[in-house]
Symmetry: C2
Subunit: 318 residues, 2 copies
Amino acid sequence: MSNRICRLFKIKYPIIQGGMIWCSGWKLATAVSNAGGLGLIGAGSMYPDVFREHVQKAKKATNKPFGVNIPLLYPNTQELMNIVIEEGVKIVFTSAGNPKTWTTLLKEKGITVVHVISNSKFALKSEEAGVDAVVIEGFEAGGHNGREETTTLVAVPAVRKVTTLPIIAAGGIATGKAMLSAMILGADGVQMGTRFIASQESSAHDKFKAEVINAKEGDTQLSLKQLVPVRLIRNDFYNRVNEAEIKGDSKEQMIDLLGKARAKKGMFEGDIIEGELEAGQVSAIIEKVDSVEHIIADVVLEYKVARAQVSHVKFDIG
Amino acid sequence: MSNRICRLFKIKYPIIQGGMIWCSGWKLATAVSNAGGLGLIGAGSMYPDVFREHVQKAKKATNKPFGVNIPLLYPNTQELMNIVIEEGVKIVFTSAGNPKTWTTLLKEKGITVVHVISNSKFALKSEEAGVDAVVIEGFEAGGHNGREETTTLVAVPAVRKVTTLPIIAAGGIATGKAMLSAMILGADGVQMGTRFIASQESSAHDKFKAEVINAKEGDTQLSLKQLVPVRLIRNDFYNRVNEAEIKGDSKEQMIDLLGKARAKKGMFEGDIIEGELEAGQVSAIIEKVDSVEHIIADVVLEYKVARAQVSHVKFDIG
């Protein structure tokens, strides 16, 4: 295993399935791990007892490494971390918070820790906190997103400049060619979210999967910037948020408009008109729902073909 | 010459210097062409007589191919096109408008025509209009920008899917690694703007060049979205625009706030507080002002090294 991400997680391919709310339970995560990548259970949409159930099911469904993603912005983080330790989860991705809060404790328990960041300043903070790797996520990524809006093409080399840590690139990556590009820019592996929404094994509602498949360029937009910026597929709900933003509505008005449980409504229950549909720009080039096994095989094959083609005369210059 | 962009323009390297207002006159354009790329005189900030002077000086300063970039949003386009034809300019890049308006006429005069686009829909329109190539410019690019906010990493493969035309990738590209990445994603060549702002030969004010060099991630933002979206370096002027946007100011109020000649004031006259400073996100990884000759040599060398390294064991997976 020459690849650092493969060595770190003891996996075959340096392909991580991003932990996503309402899409990545034990079924998706273990399908990815069984196919040679690293699957992550997305704890962000789970109550602690549901999270424990998913971890226990995952342990039964695979003997390969898998992990969990825990966004640090909810009040139940301590409970989730207790479950991680009690259930012997070996890999934790943290996001949306300070990498110093949990890394030391988790590392003491022998857990591999990765922090999700959106710029090089947080790469340095993560390194100081003692993480094993970082995910650098660009503006094009679905769901929660950084405020600086730096894209993957710029953010990956910016992070590579400041740290020797293994880097996982995320945002805009759904193909083997994009994976190879990210690795040329300085990444050691990639994280894909949206491509795995459009998998048979994801728990996304079929109507939401269809929205991802049918989305064209421009059909996702970074939204709710006054609260936590989040990339959404444009629908009636998005349009109302957008109008409110242009009108100059206050933060409080936006919180009212958002209401509760819109992501569940959209992504899990399939209300594609009133729900919040978190997906990345790369929806524009994803064309069908596939099995996880097929997705991983497709990305790996395209990566290998693209890698071989780089030596062809087509790439000669000067 | 195996590369289609090199064949099309009869140049050594498929590296285009983006036509920029206040930065790319005859001096920068011919330096790029003399170094083996394709230099473009940016007509957007030039009165017709000034534009003619730049074209005439460029013809004297190089015997290599060079071109001009004409944004189609100003009332003097007809005059500029007359000068193009009278002076025998051989390559025209059009932007910010409909590719059908000028392509047929220019092609009849034997001129090579390239149109700048921000999505695949306009790639098809450009192909129908009969252009010779397209520039696909991502969200991270400086200056005027598309409304859909699609990044280069997503836009290049999206355009590659719909057209067989030669594709020039722009936005976020300042290095040989980014160039190789763009070509793996489907581009035949690249256009760099911001990297050439930070050249000795650009007519940008030294204070503006220093702003580009010193910018970090997040220091440029897409702004003035209610008018024509434009990526700017954050300064006092930008902050006022941003506050006005959050407050929900009207389009008319934004036009008042913008006033006149702010880009000239900032980029050419060096008022970095009150001026409009158009630059790309990639400012974050550009570290010094170099000669054009050095920039081209540096990008080409890094491209070649990166290309050779792709076959190394570091890129083995599975």
